[in-house]
Amino acid sequence: MNVVFESINNKLVIRINGDIDHHTCETVRQKIDNEIAKKNSKNLIFDMENVGFMDSSGIGVIIGRYKQVTTKGGATVMINVKPQIKRVYEICGLQRIIKVFDSLEQAVNSLP
């Protein structure tokens, strides 16, 4: 489990590598929160390309980060969402709050 960050026009790209379940989500959460604090990020792009599996524990982490930046007026989007993750995302109602884009470019352009 590791998390790699990139900043594009002040937007934080979060690339998670590995499964996101209850066992790994605490590490994911801490790494992201450190980076958000360090960069004072408002807009988040979750790149799910290298996430093979995610359950509702992962949804909890994503909603938590979403809430954090929303209070600062920011937004959260996702890219490269595989079918298993897409289904969990939909069942948990994330489509109402987090948009999924086909490419990093579209995701970056969608954010203020």
Partner: protein, 142 residues
């Protein structure tokens, strides 16, 4: 109903065993003719039930999680059993978004995921004694 195959797995309630548990059930179910999506659904439902046993049932104390899986024709039946604290109000627990541990950033969507990905989910629980989640899914991909 003839049981075609059956297995029982006992695990310690350690979070590192969550991925092991879902892989084992997926490997067992893969003797049936399933699509990749159906197999991923089963994995996700098992992950939810096992995680609940660990964090809600045993609240991070070490106990044993039992997983029983049966193949009956093209149906899989999976039981996830803990001997932990049990659930006081099952109807409330099954509500989407309900969680007793919001401080852990739980989404409260575990039961909803199990219900969406499996055909049937039965919850039996006695406070102080433990919880049994019994799920069934029939594969129609044949």
């Amino acid at each position: 109903m003839k049981i075609d195959n059956e297995m029982k797995l006992e695990l310690l309630s350690k979070s590192q065993n969550e991925s092991f548990a879902r892989s084992v059930v997926a490997a067992f179910v893969s003797q049936l003719d399933t699509t990749i999506e159906e197999l991923a659904d089963v994995k996700t439902a098992v992950s939810e039930a096992v995680t609940n046993a660990i964090i809600h049932g045993y609240e991070n104390k070490i106990g044993t999680v039992v997983i029983i899986s049966r193949i009956i024709e093209n149906t899989v039946e999976i039981e996830v059993i803990d001997s932990g604290k049990g659930i006081e109000n099952i109807d409330m627990a099954r509500q989407p978004l309900y969680t007793s541990k919001p401080e852990l950033e739980r989404s409260g969507m575990g039961f909803t995921v199990m219900e969406s990905f499996m055909d049937e989910v039965e919850v039996t629980s006695s406070p102080g004694q433990g919880t049994n989640i019994k799920m069934r899914k029939t594969f129609r991909s044949l």
